[in-house]
C-alpha cells in the first residue's frame, strides 16, 4: 500500500539516474507481504473496493457460474496480498467428472483457482463462456480451458494459465501449494 501511496503522490520529476531509484522501490515493494505470491495456508478472499474483505465459502459457488475474483490473505497477519495484481485469482466450481488429472489434483470438490492474468498481454481474464466452458480474455479473445489445467484453446496466448492449487477447510478455500507457474506474461 505504501508503494501505491508513493506513486499517487508521484507527480514527480526524476533526474538522470532517479529511474533506478524507482526500480529499487519496485523491487522492495515486491518483497512486502501484500505483494508476495500466495503461500500455502492463505485464505482466498473477495475485496469490496473499500478495503474490506470476506473469505469465499465453497458452498456459495454454483456449478459453472461466473468466476469469482479473489486475492489470497495471510490468515495470521490478515494481510491481503492485493499489492500485486499478479496475485489476482479466479475461483469457480466445475464438474469434477470432466476434469483432467492435473486439474483434479489441484482442486477439491470441483472448486478451482486460476491466475486471472492472461499469459498473452497481461489483461484480466474476467469472463467465463458457459456454452464453451472456457475462460475468455476480452483484450485479444484468448480462451483457456479450466477443465484442462488452464490450457490454451484459442490464441493469441500460447501459454496456459497458472493454476493455484487449493483445498477446502471448514468450507473456506485455502491455498494448498504455490502457483503452478509464474503468473503474468512476457512483454
Amino acid at each position: 500500500m505504501e508503494r501505491r501511496n508513493f506513486l499517487k503522490s508521484c507527480a514527480c520529476v526524476a533526474a538522470i539516474g532517479t529511474t533506478a531509484g524507482l526500480a529499487s522501490k519496485a523491487d522492495a515493494a515486491s518483497k512486502k507481504p501484500d505483494s508476495q505470491r500466495p503461500k500455502p495456508g492463505d485464505l482466498l478472499v473477495i475485496e469490496d473496493g473499500h478495503g474490506n474483505a470476506r473469505p469465499i465459502s465453497a458452498s456459495e459457488l454454483v456449478l459453472e457460474a461466473q468466476q469469482v475474483m479473489a486475492f489470497p490473505q495471510d490468515p495470521e497477519s490478515g494481510v491481503i496480498r492485493s499489492g500485486s495484481r499478479f496475485n489476482k485469482v479466479m475461483v469457480m466450481r466445475l464438474d469434477p467428472a470432466l476434469m483432467d488429472e492435473t486439474t483434479k489434483n489441484n482442486s477439491e470438490d470441483g472448486v478451482v483457482a486460476y491466475s486471472a492474468i492472461c499469459t498473452h498481454q497481461g489483461c484480466d481474464v474476467n469472463s467465463f463462456v458457459a456454452d464453451k466452458k472456457e475462460f475468455f480474455c476480452f483484450c485479444h479473445y484468448s480462451r483457456f480451458n479450466p477443465y484442462a489445467a488452464g490450457d490454451v484453446t484459442n490464441g493469441p496466448a500460447t501459454r496456459r494459465l497458472a493454476m493455484l492449487p487449493i483445498k477446502i477447510v471448514d468450507d473456506l478455500i485455502v491455498v494448498k501449494e504455490e502457483f503452478t507457474r509464474s503468473p503474468g506474461y512476457k512483454k
Binding site: 508503494r3 501505491r4 506513486l7 499517487k8 508521484c10 507527480a11 514527480c12 520529476v13 526524476a14 533526474a15 538522470i16 539516474g17 532517479t18 529511474t19 533506478a20 524507482l22 526500480a23 519496485a26 475485496e47 469490496d48 473496493g49 473499500h50 500485486s84 495484481r85 499478479f86 498481454q121 497481461g122 489483461c123 484480466d124 474476467n126 469472463s127 463462456v129 475468455f136 476480452f138 483484450c139 485479444h140 479473445y141 493469441p156 503474468g184 512483454k187
Partner: protein, 596 residues
C-alpha cells in the same frame, strides 16, 4: 558496428540511464544525419519546411498534409517500396514517421523509440523504456514522439513523460504526471509549444479523472495541470452530482491542435465514466467536448460540448482541425471536427478563446439526436436509442462512432476535408449495476461480453462499412466517397501531389487515391493491417511516403466483434514493420547507396 563497439555503447547507456537501453550505429555511418541535427523551434513547428514532418500530423493545425508533389496523381503508379524496417513489436502501431532533416523517429507499442536515417533506413539508435511488469492497459500503443530543441519526447504507458537526447537516445529526464496503478496511462503524441510539452491521460474505462499537463521541455518540471472535469466550486462543476466528478473520465488521449497566433491549444475529451448516463446525472462538463487552453498557463479559455451526459461511449478525443473556411458568405476562423457521434461539426474560434457553434451535419447514419439547437449546437436525444442501467437499446453509429481516433486530413490545394468513417454500423448496449470502484480495475458498468458482441449491422452493411469521405466545407457537401468492405481504421495523409494515402482495412492494403476525385490510383499489400498515421518527407531531392503496419488495439477488437456476429473469421497477422516508398526512378540508386 563491431560487437565490441556495440557492447561498449550499451555499457555507457546503462551507466547513465539504468532503466533504459540505447544502442547506436551512429559512429559507424559515414554520413550520419545526426551530425548536423537541427534543433526544433516554435518557429519551425509553426512553419514546417516541406521536406520535414516535425509532429504527428505534420503541422499545428492538424492537417496531416505534406506540400511535397514529386509523387503526384500523374506518377503515383510508379511508387515502389525502397526500404522497410521491423520494429520487433506486436500490437497496434499507430505512430507516423516523424522526420527532421534526414533523421526519422518512430515510436511503437511497448514504449520504444527508434531513430533511423530517413533516406537509407539505417538504425541510428533505439530506446525502450522499462515498464513495471504488472502494468497493462486497454490500448497498448503510441501515437508518435514530439520534437523540440535537441530532444525527443515520449509519453509512455506508465503515465510518465520521457525526454531523450535526439542524438543518442539517452534519457535526459522523466516526469510522471499520474499513477498507472490507479488506471492512468498515456498513448498520445505530445503537443509542444512555448517551451511546454503537453500531454493528457487515458484511463476513462478505469474511473479516472482526466487532465492535461504541461511539462517544461528543458527541465521536466510540471508547469501546470488542468483537469477536464472541474472540482466542486469551479465553473462547470454544477453539471455533476455528488462524487461522480471524481471518477468521471473525460480522458485526453489524442494530442491537441494549436493556434500559435492565439497561443491556444484545442483538445478533445473522452466520454464520461462509467458509461451509463444515469451513473453521473448532469451535462458532465467537459466530457465529450473541445476545450481551449492557454498553453502558457493552462487556463480554460473556452469550450464546446458536442453532446451532454454521454451514453454511447462516443469519446470526442480527436481535436478539431484548425481551418479557416467560408460559411454562408462569411469568412470564419474555424475548427472542424468529425465527431464520433456521427456529426461533422464546424465551429469558430473567437479572439478571446471562446468557441462558437457554427453548424453540424450528419456524415453517417445517426438515430440518436432528434434536433440540434441552431444557436448553441446542443442536441436533444431520442430516449428509444439512449441506453442506461437496466435499459438495453440499439443506436447508430456504433460505440466506435462515425469516426474513432484516426485523424482526418485537410488539403489546402483541393480545399477538401477527408474523414475515415464507419457507416452502416450500429450497437446494442445496456448497463448493469456497478459495484464500488477498485483502483486500476475496469469501471464501465457494461458487461464485457456485451461490449464484445455489441455490433449490429444496418441496411447497407452488406455493401460496405468503411469509408473515406471528402467534404467541401464551403459548400457543406460531401463531394466523393471511397468504400471499404469492412472496417476502416486508417488515418489519412494528403499531399500537394493531389494524393491521399491511407490503410485501415483488414485486407492489409495501403492505398493512394486521387484527392480530387477519390479514384484509386495505387495500392500495396503490407505484412499486417495499417492503423498508423502515414507521413511524407524528402531527403536529397527524393520524396518519400512512409507508414507503419501493425494491426492491433481497437481495430483488432472490432474485427473480433465482427467475427462474433458475422459468419466468418478474419486473420490479420500482427507485427510491426515500417514501409517506405519512393518513385521507381529513384529506387535503385537509393538502395545501392544504402547498402554500399
Amino acid at each position: 558496428m563491431s560487437f565490441a563497439k556495440r557492447f561498449g555503447a550499451l555499457t555507457v547507456a546503462v551507466a547513465i540511464a539504468p532503466a533504459a537501453f540505447a544502442v547506436g550505429g551512429a559512429a559507424a555511418a559515414k554520413s550520419n544525419p545526426l551530425d548536423k541535427y537541427s534543433p526544433v523551434t516554435d518557429s519551425r513547428l509553426a512553419n514546417p519546411e516541406p521536406e520535414n514532418w516535425l509532429q504527428w500530423r505534420g503541422n499545428y493545425q492538424g492537417w496531416t498534409y505534406s506540400p511535397l508533389d514529386q509523387i503526384n496523381a500523374d506518377n503515383v503508379d510508379e511508387l515502389v517500396p525502397v526500404w522497410s524496417y521491423s520494429t520487433g513489436e506486436l500490437e497496434g502501431h499507430q505512430a507516423p514517421p516523424i522526420v527532421n532533416d534526414g533523421v526519422m523517429f518512430i515510436s511503437t507499442p511497448n514504449n520504444q523509440v527508434i531513430a533511423l536515417n530517413a533516406e537509407t533506413g539505417k538504425e541510428l539508435w533505439r530506446y525502450k523504456k522499462e515498464i513495471p511488469e504488472e502494468l497493462f492497459q486497454l490500448h497498448p500503443t503510441n501515437r508518435g514522439v514530439g520534437l523540440y530543441g535537441d530532444k525527443v519526447y515520449l509519453a509512455a504507458t506508465d503515465a510518465c513523460l520521457v525526454a531523450l537526447d535526439a542524438k543518442t537516445g539517452e534519457e535526459a529526464w522523466e516526469t510522471c504526471v499520474a499513477d498507472w496503478q490507479d488506471g492512468y496511462y498515456m498513448t498520445l503524441s505530445p503537443l509542444i509549444a512555448k517551451g511546454n510539452v503537453m500531454v493528457g491521460v487515458s484511463g476513462g474505462e478505469y474511473g479516472i479523472r482526466g487532465h492535461i499537463s504541461a511539462v517544461d521541455a528543458e527541465t521536466g518540471e510540471i508547469k501546470w495541470k488542468t483537469h477536464t472535469i472541474p472540482a466542486p466550486g469551479e465553473p462547470g462543476s454544477e453539471t455533476w452530482k455528488g462524487d461522480a466528478w471524481k471518477t468521471g473520465g473525460a480522458s485526453v488521449w489524442i494530442a491537441g491542435t494549436y493556434d500559435p497566433d492565439m497561443g491556444i491549444a484545442f483538445y478533445g475529451t473522452g466520454n464520461g465514466g462509467p458509461w451509463m448516463p444515469d451513473t453521473r446525472p448532469g451535462d458532465n462538463l467537459y466530457a465529450n467536448s473541445v476545450v481551449a487552453l492557454d498553453v502558457k498557463t493552462g487556463e480554460l479559455k473556452g469550450y464546446h460540448q458536442y453532446h451532454w451526459n454521454d451514453a454511447w461511449d462516443w469519446d470526442e478525443v480527436s481535436p478539431p482541425v484548425i481551418i479557416d473556411y467560408e460559411h454562408k458568405g462569411k469568412k470564419i476562423k474555424g475548427l472542424v471536427h468529425a465527431g464520433r457521434n456521427g456529426y461533422l461539426w464546424t465551429l469558430e474560434r473567437k479572439k478571446d478563446g471562446s468557441i462558437q457553434f457554427v453548424d453540424a451535419e450528419k456524415y453517417v447514419k445517426q438515430n440518436v439526436f432528434k434536433s440540434i439547437d441552431p444557436k448553441t449546437g446542443r442536441p436533444t436525444y431520442d430516449p428509444a436509442h439512449t441506453p442506461g442501467t437496466g435499459k438495453t437499446v440499439t443506436f447508430c453509429p456504433s460505440l466506435w462512432g462515425g469516426k474513432d481516433w484516426p485523424p482526418e486530413a485537410y488539403n489546402p490545394k483541393t480545399g477538401l476535408f477527408y474523414i475515415p468513417a464507419h457507416e452502416n454500423l450500429c450497437s446494442e448496449m445496456g448497463g448493469v449495476e456497478l459495484g464500488p470502484r477498485k483502483s486500476g480495475e475496469l469501471y464501465i458498468g457494461v458487461p464485457i461480453a456485451d461490449i464484445l458482441t455489441n455490433i449490429r449491422l444496418a441496411e447497407g452493411a452488406e455493401d460496405h462499412i468503411g469509408e473515406i469521405q471528402a467534404w467541401d466545407l464551403k459548400a457543406g457537401k460531401k463531394v466523393w466517397q471511397f468504400n471499404i468492405k469492412e472496417m476502416n481504421w486508417g488515418p489519412i495523409l494528403t499531399t500537394g501531389g493531389n494524393l491521399l494515402f491511407s490503410g485501415g482495412s483488414n485486407d492489409r492494403v495501403f492505398r493512394a487515391l486521387d484527392a480530387r476525385t477519390g479514384k484509386k490510383l495505387w495500392q500495396f499489400r503490407a505484412n499486417s493491417g495499417i492503423t498508423a498515421v502515414p507521413s511524407s518527407w524528402s531527403v536529397n531531392g527524393t520524396q518519400f511516403i512512409g507508414v507503419q503496419a501493425g494491426w492491433g488495439v481497437d481495430a483488432q477488437r472490432m474485427q473480433g466483434a465482427f467475427d462474433a456476429v458475422m459468419d466468418h473469421t478474419t486473420v490479420v497477422p500482427q507485427g510491426g514493420v515500417l514501409h517506405v516508398f519512393a518513385l521507381k526512378s529513384k529506387a535503385d540508386k537509393l538502395i545501392d547507396a544504402a547498402t554500399r
